[in-house]
């Protein structure tokens, strides 16, 4: 939470969201190769700066399974929890002093250009959890 955060720090989850109206680079195209290398460069820079906690691309929503437990019984559905036009394609978890830091790093991720990135602060600072 807020207090004392300048000496501890904040954790932010970055959700990489694909937007259906945007023209994503076609796999195999030079633009696609460029995008991959941009991802690599951004992630590498975060690691070097010591802000990267975790990151990864996700398989498409067709690979998703959703589980609910009701009355002790697991109920499974094939697919994501909500049918959205926008698809979550990956995530980053960053360790930053404040929102401005998270915003600066988020802007270097290609998903910000080809879709959007939602930045959510984690509830618990890392060294308190």
């Amino acid at each position: 939470m807020g207090a004392g955060r300048r000496e501890t720090s904040m954790r932010y989850l970055l959700l990489l969201v694909g937007e259906p109206d945007m023209d994503d680079p076609v796999p195999g195209s030079p633009e696609f190769m460029q995008m991959l290398s941009d991802y690599q460069a951004a992630t590498q820079a975060m690691a070097t700066a010591g802000v990267l906690v975790d990151s990864g691309p996700l398989q498409p929503p067709t690979a998703a399974t959703t589980i609910r437990v009701r009355d002790g019984e697991p109920l499974l559905t094939d697919g994501p929890f909500a049918e959205l036009k926008e698809q979550i394609g990956g995530y980053y978890v960053l360790d930053c002093a404040d929102l401005d830091g998270a915003l600066r790093w988020a802007a270097t991720i290609p998903a910000a250009r080809f879709g959007c990135i939602e930045i959510r602060p984690l509830m618990m600072p890392p060294d308190q959890g």
């Binding site: 939470m1 207090a3 955060r5 002093a97 929102l99 401005d100 915003l103 600072p125 308190q128």
Partner: protein
């Protein structure tokens, strides 16, 4: 609050909140702690003298309150550490940057782009300037609960997302400056128009805004809009010494004693404006500063270059097409070209649902209609303006104008912002004093010349009588209006409703009016197409003769469901909720009287 504490409150609130916000990272907590410290100060300082360093005392006490608060919320992690740091008085490492002014840090947090634009000004007025939620709610024309929720949400976002209390780094600064300029401008406006209450010019808000604008100009000396804002604030604030009477009432621009204007501020403002303009990137603040400079450099009201001001407002409207800019443009056009030209612009604004809800548009329109002698329409427009809940000082002025029109003479209180008619009146007084002839005498001069074209009359007045262009222009326009036929009276308009087959319905109309007028002296009527509108502060009823041999009474009754002869208005007239058909005098009974009276009461 004692006046002593209040003075300290106005001066130190913002800084104290800024310091506590930086220390705790929690704006809500900072505000509460500082408010607690002031509450304690009221008790402590009432008894004895102020401490030698009131701000230091307040911040120390607020820190203690914050520590207590943090300890109470033990479920929040990291609180003990923050509490310990607050007690020790050791500040966390200061974020790097050129500016260390606490209030600038706070304003950049309040204007952070991650916050909704609509809440930024409100948040600044609350946290930096110490305005109450009620005052801010009124300035934004929303309910107090709504505003309180917006503020709480914004403060939570700042805390939970860790929006920093810091001036952004150099490369981020240009993109972040616009939002801050907007907020500084609105803080100044809030102080300048003194929405806090009648008779008070909140100097502290103006001073605070100018101080922040100076700091921003120091931060970004090559940004013409930053310079434009500073120039605008200085040029406007230069008029402050002449803006209020000794008892605190506002004095209109044309009536201000220009000798009391602050020459140093005008000099500095015009110099900064020149520097901004030399950068050749015009923008809204520079345009507004240029308008303020037109006023500030005119030797008297009659000497004002209204054509130039109208042109500047037209340019401003292309940047900011807001009702206020359009209304001001209409006023300037009226001053430059005559009331009819200004009225045409205002008629459009009143017909547009996006702008018809602004009292200013109706107030300006009322003023021009009055100047044109269209009294009934002017009264209607004044009432429309009053129904939109203008600030107290303007309300007084509009009421006095309205009662003047309704032929209840009352001493005129000059307590509002300048309207075109006010400017024209001042100009007329100046012309009469300066050139030694009254207006009727000038009209006689024009009549004797045999000239009829406006441009010829203006040329004659300038060449033969030595009038300045603006004065000649005004005299010529007024002479034309004086020659125009008188408007149709309200009674004549009612007579027109009851002609031909409907003439037999007139006794029903008169009987209804007798009933309604007995409710109080503030019942007024306005003829409309096909019916007579009946109003108090707002319209509450109407009478409309029907071709079917009866009179229809329209009513506005919000809380009474239609039943029986109290029909729903439906397609009869969308401005009313109910209709009662009156076929004979027997229909004007106690039930109808009660309904009318209920409508009258709720329009008060």
């Amino acid at each position: 609050m004692s006046s002593q504490v209040e003075t300290v409150f106005r001066r130190e609130w913002g800084r104290a909140v800024a310091v506590l916000a930086r220390l705790t990272g929690d704006l809500g907590l900072a505000e509460d702690a500082v408010a607690d410290a002031f509450a304690m100060a009221v008790d402590r300082w009432a008894a004895g003298p102020l401490p030698s360093d009131p701000a230091g005392w307040l911040i120390a006490v607020a820190k203690n309150h914050a520590v207590d608060q943090i300890r109470h919320e033990s479920r929040r992690p990291g609180k003990e550490e923050a509490a310990a740091r607050l007690i020790s008085g050791r500040d966390p490492p200061r974020p790097s940057g050129l500016i260390v002014d606490e209030r600038l840090r706070l304003i950049f947090a309040c204007c952070h782009p991650a916050l909704d634009p609509g809440v930024r000004v409100a948040l600044t007025l609350r946290t930096l300037c110490g305005l109450s939620t009620a005052q801010i709610a009124r300035a934004f024309l929303v309910g107090e609960t709504t505003m309180a929720q917006r503020l709480v949400r914004a403060k939570r976002k700042i805390r939970d997302a860790a929006i920093p209390f810091r001036v952004p780094a150099g490369h981020e600064l240009p993109g972040r400056t616009g939002a801050v300029l907007r907020v500084v401008y609105l803080v100044f406006t809030e102080g300048h128009r003194a929405s806090a209450g009648p008779g008070v010019i909140t100097d502290e808000l103006c001073d605070e805004a100018i101080r922040l604008a100076r700091l921003l100009a120091g931060l970004r000396p090559g940004d013409p809009e930053v310079l434009g804002l500073l120039a605008l604030l200085l040029l406007t604030d230069a008029r402050r010494p002449a803006r209020a009477t000794a008892d605190g009432r506002l004095v209109l621009l044309p009536d201000q004693d220009r000798g009391r204007w602050d020459g140093a501020k005008i000099g500095e403002g015009t110099q900064i404006l020149d520097r901004a303009m030399s950068l050749r990137r015009p923008g809204p603040y520079q345009l507004q500063a240029a308008i303020a400079a037109c006023h500030a450099t005119a030797t008297d009201a009659g000497d004002t270059d209204w054509a130039q001001i109208a042109a500047l407002y037209a340019a401003l409207a292309s940047h900011e097409p807001t009702p206020v800019v359009h209304a001001n443009r209409a006023v300037a056009v009226a001053m430059a070209e005559g009331p009819a030209a200004g009225l045409a612009i205002l008629d459009e604004l009143c017909a547009d649902s996006r702008t018809s809800g602004w009292h200013l548009v109706h107030a300006c329109r009322a003023g021009l209609l009055r100047t044109l002698g269209r009294t009934a329409e002017a009264g209607d427009a004044y009432r429309a303006a009053l129904a939109l809940d203008p600030p107290p000082a303007e309300r007084d002025f509009l009421c006095s104008r309205l009662s003047e029109i309704s032929q209840c003479p009352r001493q005129l209180e000059r307590t509002t912002m300048p309207t075109a008619e006010e400017g024209i009146e001042a100009q007329v007084r100046n012309i009469e004093a300066r050139y030694g002839k009254t207006m009727p005498e000038w009209f006689a001069v024009i009549a004797a010349s045999g000239l009829s074209k406006h441009t010829e009359v203006v040329a004659m007045l300038k060449a033969e009588h030595g009038l300045a262009h603006g004065a000649a222009h005004r005299v010529s326009l007024l002479s034309r209006q004086a020659a125009a036929p008188a408007p149709v009276s309200a009674d004549a308009a009612v007579d027109a409703l009851y002609t031909g087959k409907k003439a037999s319905l007139r006794p029903l109309h008169d009987r209804l009016m007798t009933v309604i007028e007995a409710f109080g002296p503030d019942v007024t009527t306005v003829p409309k197409k096909g019916y007579l509108s009946i109003r108090r502060k707002k319209q509450f009823a109407m009478i409309q003769p029907s071709a079917a041999g009866r009179v229809d009474v329209g009513l506005i009754l919000r809380d009474i469901p239609p039943a029986g002869r109290l029909e729903a208005a439906g397609s009869f007239n969308a401005l009313f909720t109910h209709r009662v058909r009156v076929a004979s005098a027997d229909d004007i009974d106690t039930a109808l009287t009660d309904w009318l009276h209920t409508a009258y009461v709720s329009a008060g």
